[in-house]
């Protein structure tokens, strides 16, 4: 299986916010100089609180939004310099699965049409398309008869399987899974996570697995990147990040996780307060107002994301 690679280089995304007719135009920096790489066969997990820019980043990678600066490369080519044919191919090779399978499936289309729709853009004949649809249904554990039904006839977990089948029908190399199990019950979540893991291994896919639930992200990922207010603050092997976090924010995220049994003592305290407004980000290290270790330097100088010599990248003046 050939290796494919999706690269984000120094990505920045500003969204203009106008707060009134005569007020000055402000920019919200949703994504702030992010470098990221997603390879086939590997899962990169991305965690952070709501509003930290996880979804904005995924939209840049999906060619849904143009970055304000920086480039997205697929197999060495800048996707914003592709011609139409290349973009069509890119759109098939990199597939999303979104959070809410109630809003991501058209209630008035039959499941077979939903799954086949991304393929209308390809050169496939109709019978090939139908073949792909039934293969995709089989891969996610649904039957061929389900293609005739409407989304309303399925439960939330089955709908998410349909959304996964739609992505698979395109025979992607890379899938971007944005909070794709967050709205599911624990029992259904486990089914979907196992299904995704098996698909990745069988088909050699590359995943960007976005979530805010650290245990699920760890279960899926080889490597985890922790995002805070538009920046990656720590990135490294999944187990190392979860067992020995070095950034105080990562540690606070772990402390916020629910215990796996009643005897497990809480580790540290969850972070105080809430995510600051990206309209007016704190000076220096963005985490300093909530950080127990912050001192003078953290309020002045923003730490850069550097290799810490143990195989992870870290942006902190006072790593643990």
């Amino acid at each position: 299986m050939s290796e494919h690679i999706l690269l984000g280089k120094d990505l920045v995304k500003d969204y203009p916010v106008s707060s009134g007719l005569l007020r000055p135009r402000l920019n919200v920096r949703a994504v702030d100089h992010i470098n990221i790489s997603i390879k086939t066969g590997v899962t990169l997990g991305l965690v952070g609180e709501s509003g930290c820019g996880k979804t904005s980043l995924s939209r840049l990678l999906l060619h849904l939004e143009q970055p304000s600066s920086g480039i997205v490369q697929f197999d060495g080519h800048d996707i914003w310099r592709h011609d139409a044919a290349h973009i069509a191919a890119y759109r098939l090779a990199v597939q999303p699965v979104f959070q809410n399978p109630y809003s991501s499936l058209d209630p008035r289309m039959r499941v077979g049409d939903i799954i086949g729709e991304p393929l209308l853009n390809s050169a496939l004949r109709k019978d090939e398309r139908l073949e792909r649809v039934s293969q995709a249904l089989a891969k996610v554990g649904l039957s061929g008869e389900d293609a005739r039904k409407f989304p309303a006839e399925f439960s939330g977990g089955q709908r998410q399987r349909i959304a996964i089948a739609r992505a698979l029908a395109a025979q992607p190399r890379i899938m971007i899974l944005d909070e794709c199990v967050s709205s599911q019950d624990v029992s259904i979540r486990a089914q979907i996570l196992n299904l995704l893991k098996d698909l990745r291994d069988d088909l050699g896919l590359g995943f960007l697995f976005i979530g805010h639930d650290l245990p699920s992200v760890r279960y899926m990922s080889d490597e985890i990147a922790v995002m805070y207010l538009g920046r990656i603050v720590e990135q490294g092997p999944a187990d190392a990040i979860c067992h020995q976090p070095r950034h105080p924010y990562t540690q606070a995220l772990i402390a916020s996780c629910l215990p796996s049994d009643p005897d497990q003592a809480a580790q540290g305290a969850p972070p105080k307060g809430e995510l600051p407004s990206p309209l007016d980000p704190p000076k220096g290290c963005a985490f300093h107002p909530r950080c127990p270790l912050a001192d003078e330097i953290c309020t002045q100088i923003r730490p850069e994301l550097n290799d810490d010599g143990t195989g992870r990248r870290l942006a902190c003046h006072h790593p643990i």
Partner: protein, 329 residues
């Protein structure tokens, strides 16, 4: 912890639909809740846990011919059969509820202070000044910074975590004896969830109220609850103290639910997912026994599971409803 029973629920059944084919999302549920205790009610979507929560407040589902039967005793007083007015004087006052989605619980065009204060004015005559001071006190107790300003804000002006704390303020301002929380943190981020759960624990300790915590997440149970009732297809399949339940779940469904939660520590083992779906509601007469409802998904199911499983009483007030309970190891 004293063992005074605050809430005693016996043979509670919620049903709706035409008489011949009535469906019962809550089917013969009994439990008691002690003073100062937190009882977790755990189950999957569609297990009837939210319908149960509403029924405890004597609120029947908005469905054709809906009916609540059985007995609910709040500090010895029977709630079933109370008039609508009598029941209204209990809701928000002796028993309060926090629902999942704070945006749906709050009125978007009314000031936060008025919405929280309404809980008081619905039950008693009170001067404006003392009302305001009680509202401010409630805002402070749910850790709202600068409450003087916040009482004059609208729901859209505050964050989701803060909204849920306002809903919490409205729930506790009447100093209820029983607080029912139905998935109160599902719509919140993990960090805000942790803060909110800690807050609820503190409030419970300060006010000495009993809580019923409805959730699908065993992590929430581990953090919050003293005792747990696991509910499947409208019936309690197991009750136990929280430590016993995690150490030795006796029902196969409980064990499966615990096993399918990903863990942060230790080796990342493959999750033991429960295959299949919870069953759809089926109609049955109250006196007509049915097969074990979990049997189609159960690894231990056999012929005898086609008979209604027995309720076995165990040590420490635990109960399991199963023909082949797991070993107590």
């Amino acid at each position: 912890m004293s063992n005074d029973i605050v809430l005693d629920v016996r043979n509670l059944r919620v049903s709706f639909g035409p008489e011949e084919t009535r469906l019962a999302p809550v089917d013969d549920i009994s439990f008691e809740l002690n003073q100062g205790e937190t009882l977790g009610i755990v189950g999957e979507s569609g297990s009837g846990k939210s319908t149960l929560g509403m029924a405890l407040m004597c609120l029947a589902p908005a469905a054709q011919n809906a009916r609540i039967e059985g007995s609910i005793k709040l500090q010895g007083r029977e709630l079933m059969g109370l008039s609508a007015d009598e029941m209204r004087s209990i809701r928000g006052h002796s028993m309060a509820m926090i629902l999942q989605d704070p945006m749906a619980s709050l009125n978007p065009v009314r000031l936060l202070g008025d919405q929280v204060g309404e809980v008081i004015t619905a039950h008693q005559m009170i001067s404006r000044d003392s009302l305001k001071s009680r509202v401010l006190k409630a805002f402070t107790s749910v850790r709202i910074a600068s409450p003087e300003q916040r009482i004059n804000a609208y729901p859209h002006q505050i964050s989701g975590g803060m909204r849920q704390r306002i809903v919490g303020a409205a729930a506790i301002i009447g100093q209820p004896q029983v607080l029912i929380a139905d998935e109160p943190t599902t719509s919140l981020d993990v960090t805000i969830q942790a803060q909110y759960l800690d807050l609820l624990k503190d409030l419970q300790r300060e006010m000495g109220m009993a809580m019923i915590f409805i959730t699908h997440d065993f992590g929430v149970v581990a953090k919050m609850c003293d005792r747990v009732a696991v509910i499947y297809a409208g019936q309690i399949v197991e009750t136990a103290r929280v430590r016993d339940l995690f150490r030795t779940p006796r029902h196969w469904y409980t064990a499966a639910l615990i096993a399918c939660v990903p863990k942060l520590q230790g080796e990342a083992k493959r999750l033991a997912a429960i295959e299949g779906q919870p069953p759809r509601l089926v109609s049955r007469k109250p006196d007509q026994p049915t097969a074990c409802r979990f049997a189609p998904r159960c690894p231990a199911a056999d012929k005898v599971c086609e008979q209604a499983p027995p309720e076995t009483q165990l040590a420490n007030g635990a109960m399991v409803r199963c023909w082949h309970p797991r070993e107590a190891s």
